[in-house]
Symmetry: C2
């Protein structure tokens, strides 16, 4: 069997990380990379990554139509968007070339939640072209949804779900610092809330509906809130800086409501240098029911590495799956791939 | 669609617990129960459970051939054995009636590990009769294997795996007390080790090979050890009693070896009343790699309830799966079923 062939569309932090990870794996090769960044276009990806490898040279291509029409690939890793609306035309294009697609777009982790009509279209298109479309990542995609679902599998009954992710933004780059408002004043925060230019965490709608659909619960409501995390001291990370009195990050909370009561409770404060004010990071799942389950992962699973790993590790599952739009609850559990990736492909 | 129909074969603690759980669920009914216990045969299961329900009367039947040939069922919950050898003829019988089978036998969680030839036969038979055979439970089946595998899905690379389950035997009945040697002297312990009548935990071989196969690692060895846990004080649980100086339980350890080094490390002390000597119970997974992951579930997920829940919650997945022998790494993640079970069946 030939090596599994992968195109990466979007060579930002996620796309570059996936390329680095793929270089470490057996039985898989990168056959094309698309990005619009002028500093990258035409350059070899190994030069950009500053890595040595015997992997064939791949030059960054800015023309996706040319790339898709002249390149053989089993799967495209789409690392460009956060929202289904932004990713939709790109997914349509990928699918029309009969390539499977794994998207990092947060809303694509469960597109049924925010864009049910586009989700239906993606499902129809994927079936028509006999390929699979999957959205995944660390969160949404694993920590606050798939892992919750899996733990409920050991329960006779579930009365209440709480998922809490307390993480550090310090490892992230300038884009995330801007998106999360790190270092801005409270005035600026309110202005950006009004302008709808402060995304905070995208994913509660997806995580909550992935859980409720998996468990067969018909929620009667969904809400989410955003609050600034104001630092009392000066904080500094590699790409972020927050002076005392400005935003160290954002605390997002969300609720899945069932007949007036909170059934699913999501708590997700993200900030740079949380330890500097005594905040311990971690992933926490507390399930009330028969039996109660209290899970803690400390510190939290690294968001950047986790998303990169999830997307690459799901490649065999996406290739094996029946055609259509799939989500993490439809497929076998993710797993690290330490052997030859081809061994995981169904004959 | 008719309700999903379930036969329970074996009406011990597990089978009875599954019947109780099924009574709480929508879209599913019990159509037959087989057990050889003279106190049960001919009695209505609701009387045995001491429960009221509008569920149709089901009398315990001791003749499995008569039961299987006269009863309609989608799936048989087989709650009789720990070893593949003991379960094999029963599974063969179930499959020949074109019924799916979910087994609690610990070795059936990954029968490829201990009985590769019987596993192959089960796979062939299940395919010939177009049904699915699945082994599951809390452990093996979830805590020390599937959950480990799922967490590695967020990792770029894995260097070492440690899974530790520190649990209390206090909730368990007389059978488990005997199997785990609770209350026996050290002399009796050594005698039973020689007689091969002290099982300890059955499942390390299964868990370790489920993990290594999922990750694509070809282990070069497998070992396990059993040590008595001698109590310093008198301990007493509902069904167990251990005087000071006798066994409160057994500590099992196991290793999956890769080229001379321990790659997978399993630690599983089981005893009654662990808190009485300051032992905190819990499930712990420590993964070394990129990134490191440290997970704790405290206290441990209850073994009895967990196994009951896993078997019932996997019913829709077993019905939906392609025919053949399946393991937990082949199927979508387990999940609590809070709605109508029929909604989870693929159309």
């Amino acid at each position: 069997m030939d090596k599994i062939k992968v195109i990466i569309w979007g060579f930002g932090a996620m796309g570059r990380g996936m390329a680095q990870m793929l270089l470490l794996k057996k039985g898989v090769e990168i056959t094309g990379i698309c990005d619009l960044n002028k500093d990258y276009v035409g350059k070899d990806f190994l030069e950009i990554l500053n890595m040595k490898s015997d992997h064939p040279s791949i030059k960054i291509n800015s023309d996706i139509d040319h790339l898709l029409s002249t390149t053989i690939a089993d799967v495209v890793l789409l690392c460009t968007d956060s929202y289904v609306k932004g990713a939709f035309d790109k997914i349509k294009k990928i699918v029309s070339y009969k390539m499977n697609c794994i998207s990092t777009a947060e809303e694509m982790a469960y597109p049924q939640a925010s864009e049910p009509q586009l989700a239906k279209q993606i499902d129809n298109l994927a079936k028509a072209f006999n390929v699979t479309v999957l959205g995944t990542g660390i969160n949404p995609g694993f920590i606050m949804d798939l892992l919750v679902v899996a733990l409920t599998g050991t329960m006779v009954d579930v009365e209440h779900i709480e998922a809490k992710r307390v993480n550090s933004l310090s490892p992230f780059g300038p884009t995330v610092m801007h998106e999360q408002g790190v270092g801005i004043s409270l005035n600026e925060y309110h202005k950006r809330i009004m302008d709808l230019t402060l995304a905070g965490h995208v994913g509660f709608n997806e995580s909550i509906h992935m859980i409720s659909d998996a468990l067969g619960v018909k929620l009667t409501g969904f809400k989410q809130q955003m609050e600034p995390i104001i630092t009392n001291i000066d904080r500094k990370s590699t790409y972020g800086e927050a002076k005392a009195g400005t935003l160290a990050g954002i605390n997002m909370t969300g609720q899945g409501i069932l007949h007036g009561d909170v059934f699913i409770d999501m708590i997700h404060p993200q900030q740079i240098e949380p330890e500097s004010e005594g905040v311990q990071t971690g992933d926490y799942i507390n399930l009330r029911g028969t039996p109660n389950i209290n899970m803690a992962i400390t510190p939290e699973i690294n968001g950047g590495i986790g998303t990169i790993a999830m997307c690459v590790n799901m490649i065999p599952h996406a290739i094996n799956a029946k055609s259509g739009l799939k989500t993490m609850i439809d497929l076998p559990v993710p797993r690290a791939i330490l052997g030859d990736m081809r061994d995981l492909i169904d004959k």
